[in-house]
């Protein structure tokens, strides 16, 4: 038998040749004969009741589409159903959609939109953390006792700001009527989220709503739940007008009204014993949910679950609230609550060590998770934890210890920072089993081509390549004969959303099983179909009410080291170098995993020092790419990335999750590096030059 190729060796991304040549079709590239355009009329105040809407006499053939046109529920089906498709009476944030204006001439549509006047009875908006509408908490050990017995108690508060996904392709859909129903093609992460939401809004049955993914120009969580809102609106419009309609957001519109990473305020308190060990941590996470809660509760839970990060702490009390504010709703973004918390806990561990006068690295090492330890929610770290060898490797590569000493000198203006982190993949606890219930299908046709039928979306992170590679490798079959088209809900079963770094581990795992089955049932030149559905590993025990047990079946791990230089006159930060090391089990394709690493880190450090977004009285201030600063090629440092081999027995070929892991440690790594360079404790990100100046000045 010929020797099988090592699965990790990178192959050319199967979609990239077309993308490079400009041949890939994104949503806005799609044109349908006779299509119309839709533009949204939005609220201009943060909170109030709509008193009157004055619409100019519409030219013939021009339509308005609003809440009164909705045949089903005026709700976007998400985790918490509180988000209206169109504001009917009340508005709760600036930019809230009230109606669409639809027709073919964009200039006339714009004119109509500009002429519409809406009068409101304004109400007092809320922008602070007072209106809690989701609460969560969990407990491990006996925190009370630990705090009573503590030799010392150390408290800090950490704050994080908005982050905008800033995919380069704005949100968009094109849809058309089909067989009494609607078909929607869009830039989406989760075809079935969209489908189910549209069914609810139209009050339509399964067979009347079809959702197809177009090539997606970046998503990062931003196209997880938000597209459901657009899709519902467009579906209502298509239902009313019975014509193909296209709705593509302008960049400013996208930045002002789409979901962002939740700003957070995190307080941490540690009980320290006589041996300078952390006996207990109490934490509280407050998230700004924006005007509608949507999936914020899950973001909160993800954040809280990371509250002890890669450290084993015996006693833990974690509490959290999502606050409703009259601002644009916040939502999914790569990392999903973890980046906020990992920033806080990494800074906190460092700050505790400093306050105790011990070397932070030694201090952290004393608390590092080992195999068999209990997680924050008293689950078990069952699989080998190789953080120690990762640490050794990255210390060597970066020359960290030596540099820490060198940069202690205040004149050096340099600093080096290190973050540790872990990330669980898949839905939390029994979410995969109870909520998602993923199904995958493989179909071998009569020409012996194998079709992968799953709802996973390739938005650049590479499943088109890795899934085909996985199936081809398992079958020992040419990859060209394995076909994976963009998901179309007419043909693919619901393998769940493309989120939570679950695609390779969960969906890939199911595909691997379906492939085995296919191999067993293989008959040449005959159609063979196999299916698999999710089964939870029997060891996973999770109590959702108490948030107790195994939140995830397994974890990926990482360390980032980041080196910066701070300009003493302008307080500008230059990130000079990064070294990063990851345990993702087994890389199904090294090139793709390394690509995720580079991109994730760039977003992670951007979050830490560069990307500023805020609102004034509910209005987003940085509403274009000139003012919302993401890293350019000149800002991003060279990066050295290392992948460890630590196969996870239940993952396909031993693979675990990747996508989010590479982002979550960036902010604390860069913030700690800046902290060293300026010799001041950092509690807030982004650490902008303006903030650095304040820190230096407030001696």
């Amino acid at each position: 038998m010929k020797e099988k190729q090592n699965i990790s060796v990178g192959i050319d991304n199967v979609e990239a040749a077309d993308k490079i040549a400009g041949l890939a079709k994104y949503t806005s590239d799609i044109v349908i004969e006779g299509m119309l355009y839709a533009k949204t009329v939005r609220s201009t105040i943060p909170r109030g009741t709509i008193r009157e809407i004055k619409i100019p006499t519409l030219p013939k053939g021009y339509y308005t589409v609003d809440a009164t046109d909705i045949p089903g529920d005026n709700i976007v089906g998400m985790l918490r159903d509180d988000w209206p498709v169109f504001a009917a009476h009340h508005v709760n944030h600036i930019g809230e959609p009230i109606m669409l204006i639809v027709r073919e001439d964009k200039a006339i549509i714009t004119e109509i939109v500009n002429k519409i006047t809406i009068t409101y009875d304004e109400a007092e908006p809320t922008f602070d953390f007072t209106d809690s509408c989701e609460q969560l908490s969990f407990q491990k050990g006996n925190t009370k006792k630990a705090f009573k017995e503590a030799k010392k108690i150390i408290d800090y508060t950490y704050e994080t700001g908005y982050q905008e996904q800033t995919y380069i392709e704005p949100q968009g859909f094109i849809g058309y009527p089909e067989n009494d129903g609607v078909t929607l093609i869009g830039s989406i992460q989760c075809p079935y989220y969209v489908k189910h939401a549209v069914m609810q809004t139209l009050g339509a049955s399964e067979d009347l709503v079809r959702v197809i993914q177009a090539t997606v120009g970046g998503a990062f969580g931003g196209k997880e739940e938000f597209p459901s809102l657009m899709a519902c609106q467009l579906a209502v419009a298509i239902h009313k007008i019975a014509r193909p309609i296209k709705m593509i957001y302008e960049r400013e519109e996208d930045m002002e009204v789409t979901t962002k990473r939740h700003p957070a305020k995190i307080t941490m308190s540690a009980a320290i014993d006589a041996d300078n060990r952390v006996m207990a941590i109490k934490s509280h996470v407050g998230l700004d949910g924006g005007a509608y809660i949507g999936l914020s509760k899950v973001v909160l839970s993800r954040g809280m679950l990371a509250s002890t990060n890669a450290y084993t702490i015996e006693n833990v009390t974690a509490r959290g609230d999502v606050y409703r504010t009259n601002t644009v709703p916040n939502g999914a973004f790569r990392g999903f609550g973890a980046p906020q918390m990992i920033f806080a806990i990494e800074m906190f561990m460092h700050h505790i060590a400093k306050d105790l006068n011990i070397d932070p690295l030694t201090f952290r090492k004393a608390h590092m998770v080992k195999q068999g330890d209990l997680t924050a929610t008293s689950g078990v770290f069952r699989d080998p934890v190789i953080m120690n060898s990762m640490l050794e490797e990255v210390l060597k590569q970066s020359n960290y210890i030596e540099k820490v000493k060198q940069y202690q000198h205040p004149e050096s203006n340099k600093g080096i920072g290190m973050s540790w982190f872990l990330h669980g993949f898949g839905f939390t606890g029994s979410g995969e089993k109870d909520k998602i219930k993923a199904r995958v299908r493989l179909k071998k046709d009569e020409q012996d081509n194998v079709h992968i039928l799953i709802a996973a979306v390739d938005m650049g992170q590479g499943p088109k390549t890795t899934m085909r590679k996985l199936v081809a490798n398992l079958l020992d079959y040419p990859i060209e004969k394995v076909i994976f088209n963009n998901p179309d809900t007419r043909y693919v079963p619901d393998s769940g959303p493309t989120v939570a770094s679950r695609t390779m581990m969960i969906v890939g795992g199911l595909l691997a099983r379906a492939t085995k089955k296919l191999q067993d049932q293989w008959v040449a030149h005959q159609e063979v179909v196999t299916e698999e559905s999710y089964e939870q590993p029997s060891y996973v025990q999770w109590d959702n009410e108490a948030m107790h047990g195994d939140a995830y079946p397994a974890y990926s791990w990482g360390i980032n080291v980041c080196e910066v230089e701070v300009d003493r006159q302008t307080y500008e930060v230059r990130v000079r170098n990064m070294w990063n090391i990851y345990d993702v089990g087994k890389a199904i394709d090294e090139r793709i995993v390394l690509g995720q690493a580079d991109g994730g880190q760039a977003q992670g450090i951007g979050y830490g020092y560069l990307e500023v977004m805020n609102h004034r009285e509910g209005k987003i201030m940085q509403k274009n790419m000139t003012d919302y600063i993401i890293p350019t090629a000149a800002d991003t440092p060279p990066m050295e990335n290392t992948l460890m081999d630590n196969p996870y027995p239940l993952g396909p070929y031993g693979a675990k999750g990747v996508g989010e892991l590479t982002l979550v440690g960036g902010a604390p790594a860069v913030a700690l590096a800046i902290e060293q360079a300026i010799g001041k404790k950092v509690h807030t990100i982004p650490v902008t030059p303006e903030r650095i100046m304040e820190l230096i000045d407030n001696e």
Binding site: T110, T570, L610, T626, T632, A634, E690
Partner: protein, 283 residues
Amino acid sequence: MVENKIPTSYNEALKILATGSYQVLNGGTDLMVRYRGWSETRVKFKKNMLHIHNLDELNYITSKDEYIHIGATTTHETILHHPLIPEIMKKCLRVFASPAIRNMGTLVGNIGNASPAGDAVLIAYLLEARLVVESLRHQREVPIEDFIKGPGSIALAPDEIIKEIYFKKLNFNATYFTKVGGRQSDAISKVMFAAGYRLDADKIVDIRIAIGAVSPTIIKDKTIEKSIKGYTLKNLSNQKSMILSQYAAHINPIDDQRSNKHYRKKVALNLLEAFLNDIITRS
């Protein structure tokens, strides 16, 4: 409806402008952004537009006596790579926007836009540049500081066009340029600083200082500069805090979505101080 004209000669351009109802559209990198509408619709210009960008007659860099002349349609990228251009301008243009914007945008457009954060405007002040403004009625010359009246406001009659900008070659020991933007490239300035000096033994015989994005127009104060001329390095060292406070009195920045006034002021003064220290320690 707005009218658009593409003149085939400079003279034709002047004739169209003489109607008094046209605005000059040059590279468009300011105007196209400011007036953009929904994609696939016409740009929402408020006035009739005169598209001069392809007028080759105005695309030149020449040198006469001590002076360098740059025509109105000459792009930043052309200027950046031209041998006649002083290094201080190149320092600025190397970090100006991005290659694509430099290929479209013009120096004269940067001045016409009259933003206090216009990078090349700062250098034009430092170079004490003059503008040649023309119409069918007349030709006149204006020093840059008289031409720019405030943010977005210039001394230009409706029938006039900026034909060129010119300035005297510099003779400095060293020039300084710092742009502080939100990131390393492709950024709008939060603060910017440019300066140059010439020493004769340990005496300052010439000095120029320009500070941008910290007041409605670029700060360049000839009176202060004149007072510094003639100082020895020792004098300069003694007078440093006085000079700093003189400039501090001019610095009156704003808070906006890109930065805040405290930061802008502090950084401007830091850069000025670093510059003065550099001269002092140079000896």
